[in-house]
């Protein structure tokens, strides 16, 4: 995987993804190392995303690397009208690897084609966010001991949620049974369902989440955004219908866990947080190890 940019989750084969997860395990055991001490990582956040940026920067810092870059575009040359092409060509000279988040869809693919150093896509608009997918896979592997043959329930905005789309596509390599819970207007798009059908995997669609919880190994919750609804009353109704609280997970399987990419709004009640079945905060921490594994592997250090 040396020098191989990661723009979309499908850029890496199943074997390459598993290799990253394997490496992430090593970094989890020993997250503080000096392997990046001779390296400079550019962290270019054209739009703010504190959580993702800090996770990357923490990953680099704990391995002894230096970070250059910006956390929003407002006081950079970008604001002065510099093209993405020029920004990337310039910054590639100053760094060994570029981590980029940019609200323009396809910007990361374009950057990977013109840059002399590899690119990690940390989110390009509504398109892709592959390191989130890798950390989700790592969290699933850790909590279930396997990625194969799981019953995975996904709840919320399945239409616009890119996290869901990439995770569905990635899980299609592992014989997953999908339980898709969403309001009718936010169902999984056919372009994503196409991947499930191609692999001839089972999927079921629901509008009510309570009936899927006892069957599930994993419950992957996502946020439903107000701006998806033209009718505010409809939003209120749906928001209340997809609210997980503690007594709903009493009768679940032993290995059952609740995941969420965070930040949450009201879809998981805080009374779930101290349940042993809540895993979303650990999930976020896993992001650091997965990003360490990815960076080390792209730079050819592992």
């Amino acid at each position: 995987m040396k020098n191989k940019s990661l723009v979309s989750i499908n850029d890496y084969t199943k074997e390459e993804q598993l290799r990253i997860l394997e490496l992430a395990k090593e970094f989890e055991k020993q997250p503080v190392q000096t392997i990046l001490q001779d390296h400079v990582i550019a962290s270019l956040f054209f739009e703010p995303s504190t959580r993702t940026r800090l996770s990357f920067e923490s990953a680099v810092n704990r391995l002894g690397g230096k970070v250059v870059g910006f956390s929003e575009a407002s006081n950079t040359s970008v604001k002065k009208g510099e093209s993405l092409r020029d920004t990337i060509l310039t910054i590639a000279n100053y760094s060994d690897l570029i981590v980029m988040r940019n609200p323009i869809e396809g910007s990361a693919r374009f950057a990977s084609e013109i840059s002399s150093v590899p690119i990690i896509n940390a989110g390009d608009g509504a398109n892709q966010h592959p390191t989130q997918t890798l950390l989700d896979l790592y969290s699933i592997l850790k909590t279930q001991g396997t990625l194969d043959n799981l019953e995975v329930a996904m709840v919320g905005d399945l239409k616009y949620g890119r996290t869901i789309h990439s995770l569905v596509i990635a899980l299609c390599n592992f014989n997953t049974t999908f339980h898709l819970v969403s309001p009718v207007e936010l169902k999984l798009p056919s372009s994503v369902k196409m991947h499930i059908k191609e692999k001839q995997l089972a999927y079921h669609q629901y509008t009510d989440m309570e009936e899927v919880i006892p069957k599930a190994d994993l419950l992957y919750m996502t946020r439903i955004q107000r701006e998806r609804f033209s009718d505010p009353l409809e939003y209120e109704r749906i928001k209340n219908a997809y609210n997980l609280h503690r007594d709903m997970i009493g009768q679940t399987k032993e290995n059952f866990r609740v995941l969420h990419p965070l930040p949450r709004v009201s879809e998981i009640n805080i009374n779930v947080d101290d349940s042993p079945k809540a895993y979303y905060f650990e999930q976020a921490l896993n992001g650091v190890f997965v990003r360490q594994a990815l960076i080390a592997s792209i730079l050819g250090l592992k």
């Binding site: 323009i104 869809e105 396809g106 374009f110």
Partner: protein
């Protein structure tokens, strides 16, 4: 009657050039644009809403003194998937082919996603044709699907 037919042939026949037949009536102007015939200097004849046994109605374009490379002609398959192409030399039919939809489309189609890098910076749009019958083009950059309903030509 006979005389009239002869006159018609004279008007529409070309000595050397290309005849593109079986174009859907509503796609004739799009084909003209794709092949950049509006800026062409030789004679171009076209007709639309002609009767067709196969398709109800059809359009036809005749371009004088010009032969097209297959890659060029295959672009029109996006709007005229069943178009047939006839090369005329000295009023004689020399070569008859049917257009084929290519696997990749470069430069001619605009990505329908306004937030795509190809619509924001100088980046040529590239698509993979994921469905040739129903025309579904997956953008190489933003990965969104441009369809027959959202297709726009540059």
């Amino acid at each position: 009657m006979n005389n009239k037919k002869v006159t018609e042939l004279k008007v529409s026949a070309i000595e050397n050039g290309t005849v593109i037949d079986h174009i859907p009536s509503n796609a004739v102007f799009q084909v003209i644009r794709i092949l950049k015939l509006e800026r062409f200097e030789n004679m171009v004849l076209f007709a639309t809403n002609l009767e067709s046994k196969k398709y109800g109605t059809k359009g036809i374009i005749k371009v004088s003194g010009k032969y097209f490379a297959p890659e060029e002609l295959n672009k029109i398959s996006l709007v005229a998937p069943h178009a047939s192409v006839i090369e005329i030399h000295d009023f004689q039919v020399k070569n008859k082919t049917v257009v084929e939809t290519p696997d990749k489309i470069r430069g001619i189609v605009k990505c329908f996603n306004p937030n795509c890098i190809t619509n924001i910076e100088e980046v040529p749009a590239i698509f993979t044709v994921v469905d040739k019958d129903d025309i579904r083009l997956k953008c190489h950059y933003c990965e969104k699907i441009t369809t027959r309903n959202t297709i726009e030509f540059r």
